[in-house]
Symmetry: C2
Subunit: 452 residues, 2 copies
């Protein structure tokens, strides 16, 4: 194989021959192929895509670059969840203990914050003592005992994906559907799941804002799962505004705890129940997603999910008192209330710029490997469509310094647009995608009513 | 500047703002920006192109990355020639002493072989002792004394271009018109020329085989020259078959010497005269290209060009006896005659595969920095349209080993296609491109008849 010829042929739109993708990427994995040739290839893939055969070869190569966990000896249908990433998206923190408390094992390997979006690992680590770096054997034992473990992608899992992801992040090659799909699915297939629910975001705060691209990504991932005999269902959900109120690691952890206690924001609860319903159906515990949703609502309301989270936190070295007293979480020294500059309708709460502003405060990383500040972020209590009065508090900035707080305030004033006329937010969940195709999401109305 | 945002915006087809290209490329020049980000950017440019403003900024950045030679104190209009590269193209070796012998200074900085094409420097260095690494002050003194110096791109000239070129070569990003044009023109503008003749190749052996792409490249380079007040004229010429008979460094040097003595192949002589006519007109020595062509033909036929080459070879440390006895050049130990397998018409002498086969023999480089074998190559005495008899000698392979010779023979048998029906070779020179536009090339018929 001559690497520059492979790059040229992909650039020119040729389909590569069987084995060529595998050889090219294995060469990168073992250090024979340099970053710059891979970067050029990835940009060519951005423009030319991958054929189904090429994509399958890439998934297999990434999957086989590390260990493939075998959980088949553990009882139950193992179901994980993946979100394509958003601002304020802490659903996994509620969902994992909730679904596990109902008997479906959730072997969850999560990521860190990326670009303008937060990461489940960073949020979990805001709990004092919480360890996300379990070994694979600790992971397996906890999964057996509690039905859930919340860890990071270990070094053993798809190491090639990790290196490729870091390269894509700095070379403008993230937003490629086949590369995104292969990255997600290779990790998920390596962690030993039987089925997967995908939360595919759309709207301005999503990596792929347009609906047609979100649907294409969903279909691509479902196709990959199918090739490995894993059932994958995707919900297309709104990321034109943040999910819930909180943006920032400890703030989001606190909001997840409130939601586990039945006191969280409506949209976060609703999305979590929709995803839980699907996972319980995939796991064979519920006869339908609607039945699963009702079961999940009950487990949130009667405290079973909260108790399971307490056990998980304790098992992973965190202070379980946080479930009763979220003030144990790191607190920002400077708080600044943001007031509505005028009366009117909240027309937009623009997710992407809020995500970027949170990174500026220190809630995310500007460069790989840098530390984050768990305490900082935003609490935005208005949603598109809300009516506000001039001077009314619409948000709070949590910051390290007064200067940061002022910058954060300015960013929120720009992002929370107040005007006349109606707001047109995207529906929280709009589509459900399965092997059978795309259907409009009927929501709780069709699936058995709002729980509790 | 955030590099990955610049890459993304180019990828998405946005025009970059004034200063952004300069900052991005200067970052690469001084080592702050890594190869992998540049590789991704170059691939995005391959797909999205550069606007005229972006291209101008790139040329200026590359030009200013090193020294800009000022030859304005030397008398005469300095005219150089550049070929976009081909197989068997040794025209520069004849052209430079020829034009200099008629009073137009030729400050020629040439390159090495690249991919399947040969390089003037490698050919010159087949002369025992010949130095192409003159310092800029030696270059200037020789130019003053002999009107011509034949050197390589020194470290001082457009160092950024050299690094970019090496990166493009291994990342499949060579075949981009704005990148090719900026690379060529930044080097030529840095060497202190007043005017430039371009030999833009087309056909299977050219980097850009299609006519429309060759014309676009010509127009782009003429536009860049115009912005710097340099007159640039381009001839579009045939590279569907090798130029002349010889392919390989010493073999081509020998053929250039024969042509300087009036004994070379017809096509090499004709192309050289066409280019010389343009250069003499650009240099103000001839009133028109046709008049220049006639002057050049006379200088070839009466030995003036040969004598000037003798002085140049001697001045640059080479053995001038080579002009009388080309057998002084390195000789390959194994020679193998290639015979026509059947009778018929030579339909094709496919340049690109012949170029690749010459690299395989050792005439070119498979990787940067490796040594070449000056003695090896091909001598192909048939041209498309020739009638041959089965068993007739059509070529000779010059090789290091019998095995190499056999592989070379097989490559030539495949590349020299003998069949029925007429051959349809491209015209040797088909178009002439100037600031005023593109015109069909009228050739010597319209320009004053064949010299001598």
């Amino acid at each position: 194989m001559i690497p520059y010829r492979i790059i040229q042929r992909k650039r020119d739109g040729e389909e590569l021959r069987a084995g060529e993708i595998a050889e090219f990427f294995r060469g990168y994995a073992d250090g024979r192929l340099p970053d710059y040739q891979m970067a050029a290839f990835l940009m060519a893939v951005y423009f030319r895509g991958l054929s189904p055969a090429e994509r399958a070869e890439l998934v297999e190569t990434m999957l086989r670059s590390g260990a493939v966990v075998d959980l088949s000896d553990l009882p139950g249908t193992k179901v994980d969840k993946h979100s394509t990433g958003g601002v304020g998206d802490k659903a996994s923190l509620v969902l994992a203990p909730l679904v596990a408390s109902l008997g479906v094992p959730v072997p969850m390997m999560s990521g860190r914050g990326l670009g303008h979006t937060g990461g489940t690992l960073d949020k979990l680590e805001s709990i004092p003592g919480f360890r996300t770096d379990l070994t694979l054997s600790e992971f397996r034992r906890q999964l057996e005992r509690l039905g859930c473990a919340l860890i990071g992608q270990t070094d053993e899992i798809a190491p090639l994906d990790r290196r490729l992801y870091a390269l894509r992040d700095v070379t403008g090659t993230v937003e490629s559907i086949p590369l995104i799909a292969a990255s997600i699915m290779s990790k998920k297939l390596a962690e030993g799941i039987d089925a997967l629910i995908l939360d595919v975001k759309r709207g301005s705060g999503a990596f792929l804002p347009e609906l047609d691209r979100a649907l294409e990504l969903a279909r691509t991932m479902i196709g990959i799962g199918d090739a490995y005999g894993k059932e994958v269902v995707a919900l297309v959900t709104a990321m034109d505004r943040p999910l819930g109120y909180a943006v920032g690691n400890a703030l989001e952890m606190e909001e997840a705890i409130l939601t586990l206690r039945g006191e969280g924001p409506e949209d976060l609860r609703e999305l979590t129940l929709a995803l839980a319903g699907e996972m319980l159906a995939l796991g064979g515990v519920a006869g339908s997603p609607g039945e699963g949703r009702a079961m999940a609502a009950a487990a949130l309301d009667d405290g079973r999910a909260l108790e399971r989270m307490r056990e998980i936190v304790e098992a992973q070295g965190g202070n379980p008192a946080v479930l009763d007293d979220p003030a144990i979480l790191p607190q920002a020294p400077v708080r600044r209330v943001v007031e509505a500059a005028r009366s009117g309708t909240v027309v937009e709460v623009e997710a992407r710029s809020i995500g970027h502003a949170a990174v500026e405060l220190g809630a995310g990383r500007r460069a790989l490997g840098t530390a984050i500040d768990p305490a900082v972020g935003f609490h935005i209590t208005v949603k598109p469509g809300d009516i506000v009065e001039a001077g009314e508090a619409v948000a709070t900035v949590y910051a390290r310094t007064p200067e940061d707080a002022e910058r954060g305030r300015e960013a929120l004033v720009a992002a929370i647009r107040i005007g006349e006329g109606p707001a047109a937010p995207l529906p929280l969940v709009s589509h459900r995608v399965t092997r059978a195709g795309v259907e409009a999401w009927e929501g709780d109305a069709a699936e058995g009513g709002r729980g509790a």
